[in-house]
Symmetry: C2
Subunit: 355 residues, 2 copies
């Protein structure tokens, strides 16, 4: 039976990408070699890297504006500290919209002072704070564009003189926004980019080189830029699959086309959550709801056993909420077919009929 | 045509591992899901991680001795700085046997004083220094057990009171030695462990917690140990394939059995290099020659074009020496079939006949 995988990440990738990746493990581009056994210094891999970089720049609409794209080891969690290591001389401002922002704040504190300009922690991160002030004397402002755990998403980003660093792990490439308002964007691959094991970083190069501390090589963006993102042995397979996924996105019409589908998927599901009397959305402010992760609860938790059974029977996978807030969470990243959302909705309606 | 891949890494993996990995990209263990889309918090992945950890401990013969095994992002290059971040309070001693030792030294200097106890840099790292003294007042001693670029390998490790940290990226799991003489072993996966994108670390836990500096979470071994190596989203696929490779090693008779084959492969090739008048070994001291990487030169470089043509015709791949020393390098890691070595030897003999 076909599974409908709503996993928050690592999540499903397009079927055509899976197919190519599987073939490449046995025979990469008819070379007689596996993608797993080619050198990271080979022509073949250098081309994979440069293709992935230029596809990423194209999807972000950041070509020829002084940005470099890196594909680095370590996931977004390593970026929590690398951003601070490279950019934080004295003080940085953070918007706290949940667990990932909090982790970024924790790591930044090893390197300098942190000003929390606003937090939605007072209501369990179920909304996005607005109308906060960013001090002019900070080295940068950091925010998390989409909060997977709570299902909130930032629609607007502040107008500020200071550089904006944005963790876009869970909504990069999902919507058309002006990506040039950010001086540094980072994202763990395992949602809209590729499999786990690599992080994408897009940096406006002129923000680097301004801190006085010495930076170990592997943590220094300038070192990685100088080696075109192949400073050490790169995570070849995760980068290859990321390149395939970025190619698929282009063939699918790019970010503008996928955004329309993403909004359609989210609208369908939120409409059902709001209509169906058995459910309630975790995020009440509709303008703060994430297009990527819809979080919701069963009002009568006694129905949970039945609902879970129907979900399983329909092949709906990984729809439990994050362990910290419980309930349900449907992650609808770029590769999730709209058909999967329709199946989920039909199960919600089945529960309503039978309840 | 079958390729004989002598790549220094990423290198070939066992054919059965490639087959299983390829299948898992489409359908992991008949779950209807790809290995690329399962959660790093799923039961399935937690089992992969614990299986990989216990197989590694078993192959190193380090069970029940206070060691923990981690599979971390970042490759050995991140370990260059993590070892120092976690262990270097004042001073560390290093044996410099080449480019990788030098890089480890460079990164350690960000954190404390480095004493280079000996170096083979005076003769282009073509031998292994012996009879050096390790000061008693250092926090640890660091060495590189096998030097891929030059083709040297350490056969003996010093008797010392201070903890030994060893970079075993290119010969871990290739030979039976007393691994308990090391308090910390690290290794990039892409030779004898699995594909690029993960590093193995085996740590004797009681050496941790002794430095006064604060360590950011992703760089702190104690954080990774406390989360059983799944602190953040792990590189799922590289770890899965590493687990398969460690399983294959067990099914192949373990380290003792593979060591016999490795020695046989190396003996065959070095015998031909020494016998064949057209070639000379880069490493003259036979006791310092690496069982993993045989480096050699054509004495008459005018024969290079012919040799390269014959190699290509025979399907011999990736046998060029490292760009820093030139010549040839045959890397014969665990998964390289002895048949490939025989093919290489036959090409060397073909050149001799036709020269």
């Amino acid at each position: 039976m076909k599974k409908h995988n709503f996993s928050a990440g690592p999540c499903l990738l397009p079927q055509s990408v899976m197919q190519k990746a599987s073939e490449a493990v046995l025979n990469f581009n008819d070379s007689g070699l596996s993608i797993l056994e080619i050198s990271h210094r080979s022509e073949e891999f250098v081309r994979i890297m440069t293709d992935a970089q230029s596809l990423a720049l194209e999807h972000l609409n950041l070509q020829n504006q002084g940005y470099k794209v890196l594909f680095l080891h370590g996931g977004a969690s390593l970026q929590f500290l690398m951003t601070a290591y490279n950019l934080l001389e004295n003080k940085a401002a953070f918007l706290n919209t949940g667990a990932w922002s909090s982790k970024a704040i924790k790591e930044a504190k090893y390197f300098g002072e942190v000003v929390e300009v606003a937090s939605s922690g007072d209501r369990s991160f179920s909304y996005v704070p607005k109308n906060y002030e960013i001090p002019n004397d900070v080295d940068y402002f950091h925010c998390t564009s989409n909060n997977t755990i709570y299902g909130t998403q930032l629609n607007e980003f502040p107008n500020t003189e200071v550089p904006i660093v944005c963790d876009m792990s869970s909504d990069i490439f999902s919507r058309e926004i002006d990506y040039s308002q950010f001086q540094l964007i980072y994202a763990g691959a395992q949602k809209n980019i590729g499999p786990a094991g690599v992080a994408l970083v897009a940096i406006k190069e002129d923000i680097l080189g301004k801190v006085s501390r010495k930076i170990p090589s592997m943590l220094d963006y300038q070192v990685h830029i100088s080696k075109n993102s192949i400073y050490n042995t790169a995570p070849v397979f995760p980068i290859y699959v990321s390149m395939l996924t970025l190619q698929w996105l282009k063939e699918s019409g790019g970010v503008s086309a996928i955004e329309k589908i993403n909004r359609k998927k989210a609208n369908l599901l939120y409409a059902e959550i709001d209509r169906n009397a058995l459910f309630e959305a975790y995020v009440k402010n509709t303008e703060d709801r994430s297009v990527m992760n819809a979080t919701f609860n069963l009002i009568d938790t006694e129905l949970k056993e039945n609902f879970d059974t129907y979900l399983k029977e329909a092949g709906v996978h990984a729809i439990n909420g994050h362990r910290s807030i419980g309930g349900y969470r449907a992650s609808m990243y770029n590769a999730l077919p709209i058909e999967s959302v329709r199946v989920l909705i039909s199960v919600m309606q089945e529960l309503e009929r039978k309840a």
